[in-house]
């Protein structure tokens, strides 16, 4: 994964807007690419997008919060996603979440202060046969038990 661009550098987001601005309905595309480059969509970036497009910030914010793929807070280097789909849930996903949060001192949606971890509850990831399932970035851990969690986190 490419190194993220710091939010102070607004040149990149401006370039993204400049590239797409003439296309009707370009806001989604711009938000996606901006999040890809910066990792998240804080006020500074959304404000810049609004100013550059000449639309109110409220419109940008409405779209950014409507779609769950967008995040307003920076995610950790390692993004933990614990599936709360039906299968995972009945096979004990909640204790897994509790364990992860206990170790990292987080709540669902949080990022640790050192920026290493972020924890999210996800919808079904399509691996119900392996329930309960946790993902760390692209790696999948299945048939989890609570006791396995400390060992997995230590590997990162």
């Amino acid at each position: 994964m490419a190194e993220l661009i710091p939010v102070e550098n607004l040149d990149v987001v401006k370039a993204i807007v400049a590239e797409h601005r003439e296309v009707p309905g370009c806001l989604m595309q711009i938000l996606q690419e901006t999040q890809e480059k910066y990792g998240y969509l804080p006020l500074e970036l959304q404000g810049t997008i609004a100013d550059e497009l000449g639309i109110p910030l409220t419109e940008v914010y409405g779209v950014a919060t409507f779609y769950s793929q967008f995040t307003l807070t920076p995610k950790g280097k390692y993004k933990i996603g614990i599936c709360l789909g039906t299968a995972c849930y009945v096979r004990g996903a909640q204790p897994i979440i509790d364990k992860v949060n206990g170790i990292l001192g987080t709540a669902v949606g949080d990022t640790t202060e050192d920026g290493k971890w972020s924890v999210d509850a996800t919808r079904c990831v399509g691996a119900c046969g392996l329930a309960p399932v946790m993902m760390i970035n692209e790696e999948v851990f299945g048939r989890l038990t609570v006791d396995e969690i400390p060992g997995i986190l230590e590997k990162f």
Binding site: T58, Y61, T65
Partner: protein, 891 residues
């Protein structure tokens, strides 16, 4: 035209009309929540579903255009079932605390729920699913309760497209959807200007004023706002002789919009601080007295003073009182006081407009109507922070800009309107004349002047052209401190659009070159032919509710009602005949000269009605010294003020809500006030008090019994008000002067075909630098002005706690870079010193203020900005230079 059938009725509509509009046009009502005015329908509430025969599913009538041959049914079992389901869903998510809700009795949701009985949705899901979402009560004036919100988005649309403030967004999705400022900012911490226009359109009680009386049957009275010159219509809700709420309605000047003052700042009316009896100073203390005692004393003192000649008596009238009050006041000062020493605070705001535009065009008032903004292609705003000083006009300018009109702003501060401007010229204070001259030079250089207009309808054009040959765009731009290319761009933008209006205010008038600035504005309009046509004009925005009217009524030393000059013998003769009284012949003093006269002892008797010169006039210390001189001062007011501290007699008067009468707003529109509450104690109507004193002195011509009679007399002697009567106004007639007959609505715009003075006159105005220039001792330049929350000297607005919470104390705006040089942090108290005085105030950082400039609001008495102001007056209009004061600061 499109032909369709709705519920068996045939209807023809224009192409593009929605089914909803088509149905409503033939009286078929379809329930809606999210549909709002003419904004793009969003079809989100789903209440308006109808059956379109042949369609696969029910359609939202608000967003589906009518099509040829369409057959629509609005009330089939299937439609009803669908609506019932929608209602159930909405109700499942709504708190039913109706009995204590703001919208009790007028809730649109309840209206549907009444229909619910019909729709059988009452016993829907119940309320068990309602999540108790936190109420946002961070704004001082109103609350947002998400548990009552039905997500119709009307508040967003108002904020976005009518108030044009862009505060609210629809955030998150699904069950979590909420309407809030971005990034979970509470409303009170956002850039919300508390106009409350969202409350006005909320269908439920989700948005509600903090202060209201639930569950009460109120009487409502329609009247006119007592604040700025826009003249918004207010509807007062009155319970037990107390205003409990103010709401707006469609139509009239404001079309449902109000600002924070109009909507929320009504507490002063029933304030316990109101004056309830006359007061007489005895042994240095104001003590309660009877009317008889007070009026006898005033009459005696007036008699004594006028024995010393006409210069010994003077009166300050009030731009906050009605036309009727002002008419009676000036008649009283002239005939009973036997002097022309009558003036009012227009001297401090638009005296240069009255003088300058009278010279250029023949009459000094806004030439357009406010609603002509809707057809302008370009708007040029200079010397006016419109969104704060005239909020509803500010909103209308923003609306027009949103719809594509060009906006040019020239101001020393980066005001809110600058954000939306096509060209923003940040000019140095006091450089309006070179700004306008430079723009005109650029127009001539490009050859886009309206040569035919100049030749046919103006005079002095040749001389003006010769003068313009001595001017360069570069030279002017340098004086103004702006890029000459920006100046050219602004000039050409204004000149080349078809319809354009100029809006200006104190930033142009309050200079020692104020009259020149005003005439230059007139020149620019004439040079481009943008005057005398609909949507084209010169628009001085008048500051106070009735400052236009106070001028119209002749509360000016040289002018009788309707700007008839007292110096013209035929005019004086006409009035003497009409009034049956003798008119004085002295040259009347202006407001600033009256204060000087009090100071040097020539004025022995000063009558002040609804004015607070200690705070509003320049050079506070000078005013105080003058009033201390021991001359007899009568103050007629609604509260004790900084000025009553110097009064010998104080007389309690009515406020707007206790009066019948008329105000004339900034667009020359005469509007009717209607009495809503009884005044406290023994307070009396302003005109009545004056009349009683006149009668005490045995003068005829003051036996009025009501305001309507006074207006009849006004109409009989004032040509521009000839067709005005209370009866017409009660019947809803729109009247803008000049109104020459009973069947005329007057003029929506002025100078059509012919200027009031015949031909427009090109004045020659060269740059005169402001008297105050930054120097070694006073290196900074201070400007004074108004802020959104306060009005005049705060006597009314400061009684509203929310206003005090936002703007309770004086402050000084400073550029952060300038502050750095003085080692000042934001919020530090600093001392600001001018050659005339010194005050202490908290700093507010504003990068929109230029370096080496400061801004202070003038409203405050204690540590008020007017301790610092003063100096050389405009030679023609005698207006003081409030906008350029050299100062120094220290921590």
């Amino acid at each position: 035209m499109i032909n369709l059938t709705i519920d068996g009725q045939k209807v023809s509509v224009e192409s593009g009309t929605t089914i909803l509009k088509a149905a409503r046009s033939i009286g078929i009502d379809i329930p809606t929540l999210c549909n709002f005015k003419d904004f793009t329908p969003e079809g989100s509430c789903r209440m308006c579903l109808v059956e379109v025969v042949g369609a696969r599913r029910l359609e939202t009538s608000c967003s589906t255009p009518a099509a040829e041959g369409m057959v629509v049914n609005t009330n089939t079992p299937e439609v009803r079932e669908a609506r019932r389901f929608v209602l159930k869903m909405l109700m499942s998510d709504h708190t039913f605390d109706c009995m204590t809700c703001y919208k009790y009795g007028c809730c649109e949701f309840v209206e549907f729920n009444a229909n619910c009985i019909e729709y059988d949705a009452v016993k829907a899901f119940g309320t068990e699913r309602v999540m108790a979402k936190p109420i946002d009560d961070s704004n001082p004036f109103y609350t947002y309760d998400p548990n009552k919100c039905v997500l119709c988005n009307r508040c967003i649309k108002v904020c976005e497209h009518l108030q044009c403030n862009h505060i609210l967004a629809q955030c998150d999705r699904g069950y979590e959807t909420n309407i809030n400022p971005v990034f979970e900012t509470p409303r009170g911490k956002s850039e919300c200007v508390s106009c409350g226009n969202c409350i006005a359109v909320c269908p439920t009680g989700a948005l509600a004023p903090k202060q209201f009386k639930p569950f009460a049957y109120a009487k409502t009275v329609q009247t006119v706002c007592p604040y700025c010159g826009v003249g918004c219509t207010l509807n007062l809700k009155v319970i037990d002789n107390k205003i409990t709420d103010v709401y707006s309605t469609e139509g009239n000047v404001n079309d449902n919009l109000l600002c924070v003052k109009g909507r929320f700042a009504y507490d002063f009316v029933s304030s316990p601080d109101r004056l309830t009896t006359p007061l007489i100073r005895k042994n240095g203390v104001l003590e309660e007295a009877s009317w008889e005692e007070a009026l006898t004393l005033v009459a005696e003192k007036l008699k004594e003073a006028k024995a010393e000649g006409p210069q010994a008596v003077a009166g300050l009238s009030s731009a906050r009182c009605t036309n009727e009050d002002n008419y009676v006041f000036q008649k009283f000062i002239r005939t009973v006081g036997e002097t022309n020493n009558v003036d009012h605070c227009a001297r401090l705001c638009h005296a240069s407009t009255v003088a300058g535009l009278a010279k250029s065009f023949g009459s000094g008032a806004m030439t357009n109507s406010i609603d002509e903004i809707d057809i302008m292609d370009v708007m040029f705003v200079t010397g006016s922070n419109t969104t704060e000083t005239h909020p509803v006009i500010g909103a209308k300018i923003k609306q027009r800009q949103q719809k594509g009109a060009a906006l040019i702003v020239a101001e020393p501060r980066r005001i809110e309107l600058a954000k939306y401007a096509d060209v923003f010229l940040q000019i140095k204070p006091g450089t309006n004349v070179p700004l306008l001259n430079g723009m005109m030079r650029a127009i001539l250089d490009a050859g886009v002047e309206a040569i035919d207009f100049c030749k046919e309808r103006t005079e002095g054009y040749e001389e003006f052209r010769e003068f313009m040959d001595t001017i360069t765009v570069e030279g002017c731009a340098e004086i103004c401190g702006v890029d000459p290319e920006d100046m050219r761009k602004a000039a050409l933008l204004y000149a080349t659009k078809d319809k354009g209006g100029i809006f200006y205010s104190m930033g142009v008038t309050q200079h020692n070159s104020g009259t020149d600035g005003v005439m230059s504005v007139g020149n620019l309009a004439m040079l481009t032919g943008k005057i005398g046509r609909e949507g084209c004009g010169v628009n001085p925005l008048r500051g106070q509710n009735n400052v236009q009217g106070a001028c119209d009524m002749g509360a000016l030393p040289g002018d009788l009602p309707g700007y008839q000059k007292i110096a013209v013998p035929e005019v004086a003769e006409k009035f003497e005949k009409a009034w049956g009284l003798k008119l004085p012949t002295n040259t009347g003093k202006t407001l600033t000269e009256i204060i000087n006269g009090v100071g040097d002892g020539t004025v022995k008797f000063l009558y002040v009605m609804g004015e607070n010169p200690v705070v509003s006039d320049p050079d506070t210390n000078h005013v105080k010294h003058a009033l201390e001189k021991g001359n007899f001062v009568v103050v007629q007011d609604i509260f004790l003020t900084e000025t009553t501290e110097y009064a010998d007699v104080v007389l309690p008067a009515f406020v707007y809500a206790e009066k019948d009468g008329t105000f004339t707003n900034t667009e020359r529109r005469i509007q009717l006030l209607r009495k809503a509450v009884e005044a406290p104690g023994e307070a009396k109507n302003d005109w009545e008090i004056i009349s009683l004193i006149a009668q005490k002195l045995g003068s005829k011509g003051f036996d009025f019994t009501n305001a309507e009679e006074i207006m009849e007399e006004i109409a009989s002697v004032t040509p521009s008000y000839t067709g005005v009567s209370h009866e017409r106004l009660r019947n809803g007639d729109r009247i803008q002067w000049p109104c020459l007959s009973k069947d005329s609505e007057g003029a929506r715009f002025l100078h059509k075909g012919l200027f009031t003075r015949g031909k427009g006159w090109f004045a020659i105005a060269d740059y005169i630098p402001p008297q105050d220039q930054a120097d070694e001792d006073y290196p900074l330049i201070l400007m004074t002005g108004r802020i959104l929350e306060h009005y005049h000297t705060r006597t009314m607005t400061m009684r509203t706690p929310g206003i005090q919470e936002i703007a309770g104390e004086p402050f000084v705006e400073i550029n952060p870079e300038t502050a750095k040089g003085y080692d000042i942090n934001e919020g530090d108290f600093i001392t600001v010193t001018s050659p005339r005085g010194s005050v202490s105030a908290k700093t507010r950082f504003n990068p929109g203020v230029m370096e080496a400039n400061l801004f202070m609001p003038f409203h405050y008495g204690n540590n008020g900005a007017n301790h610092l102001t003063g100096g050389e007056l405009d030679p023609v209009a005698k207006i003081p230079p409030f906008k350029v004061v050299k100062v120094n600061i220290s921590k």
